[in-house]
Amino acid sequence: MNLQEFLAMGGYAFYVWVSYGICFAVLLANIVLPVMQRKQLIRQLAEKQQRQQP
């Protein structure tokens, strides 16, 4: 089986790859968003702390 055939998924390429794409996009977002928000929060808190006690 070559790559072309693999990607074609026996004619079901659209359904299979869109499914996998949406699935992993959602899964990735569920990790990336909280991590980003947490880092932002830490940055905010650090700035606030520095302002309070220079």
Binding site: F6, S19, A46
Partner: protein, 257 residues
């Protein structure tokens, strides 16, 4: 706390203390992520490449490797949410409350994935994007239950109160889920007849089953990772005035991790 022996209770208490949890989860996360990625790679390789096409559905059945594990996770996470919610409600353990609400968004995501992939799988099999099939319908109702939990949590400003509300709602939901599921199944057999047996049991061969189980385990690990990430955020937000957070923030080495 009467039924629990003192040393165990004390141990749990220490484990459940926010700074300890934050540090421990930070150490565990790289390992969990590593295991998840390995399992995922094996599962995908087995499912998308090694497993033969289904003799009826061709390659379209390969959606099963994300659809079915997502559907399993959607139910599993709701139950975890109800149990941790109950623990938080009864023993007032802050960490259990946080785990409960952090699970909700992950569970809702899995429910959403199960619905979308079910629809994408249904299109080539049934010819339409949506069929009022028993499993898709109960999955849709489950999504509403999750959205209710998340909506209620966001609507209440005081997060301790919100956690209690969420726990009560999750417990009510968990009692109702079997009833809803049974009623939907019953409704479906009456109205539709046996239309969609094709999707229920693709002739499962060992070479198809092993990747499916690998994906299921990988998704379990994913759930722990995503839940912990969300819980760490939630914890910092709630404890932003606590001494340990101030210390954490002031240490430059920690602020990046």
């Amino acid at each position: 706390m009467k039924f629990i022996p003192d040393p165990i209770g004390r141990f749990c208490h220490r484990m459940a203390s926010p700074p300890h949890f934050y540090a421990l989860s930070g150490k565990l996360l790289p390992w969990l992520t590593g295991i998840f990625l390995i399992l995922l790679a094996c599962g995908l390789y087995g499912g998308l490449y090694l497993a033969p096409p289904d003799y009826q559905q061709g390659d379209s059945y390969r959606i099963i490797y994300i659809h079915v594990p997502s559907a399993w996770m959607s139910l599993f996470i709701y139950i975890v949410m109800a149990i941790t919610g109950a623990i938080g409600l009864i023993w007032r353990i802050k960490l259990a409350e946080i785990v409960a609400i952090s699970s909700a968004s992950v569970g809702a995501s899995f429910t959403f994935i199960a619905l979308v992939t079910g629809s994408l799988w249904g299109k080539p099999m049934w010819g339409t994007w949506w069929v009022w099939d028993a499993r898709l319908t109960s999955e849709l109702i489950l999504l509403f239950l999750y959205l209710g939990v998340i909506g209620l949590y966001n609507a209440i400003d005081d997060k301790r109160t919100a956690s209690k509300a969420v726990a009560i709602l999750a417990l009510v939901g968990v009692v109702n889920i079997p009833i809803i599921h049974y009623s939907v199944e019953w409704w479906n057999t009456l109205h539709q007849g046996p239309t969609v047996t094709k999707m229920d049991k693709p002739s499962i061969h060992v070479s198809m089953l092993i990747p499916l189980l690998l994906m299921a385990i990988a998704f379990k690990f994913y759930y722990v990772i995503a839940m912990l990430q969300r819980a760490r955020l939630e914890l910092l937000q709630r404890e932003r005035t606590a001494a340990w957070v101030k210390k954490l923030v002031s240490e430059p080495s920690n602020s990046s991790s």
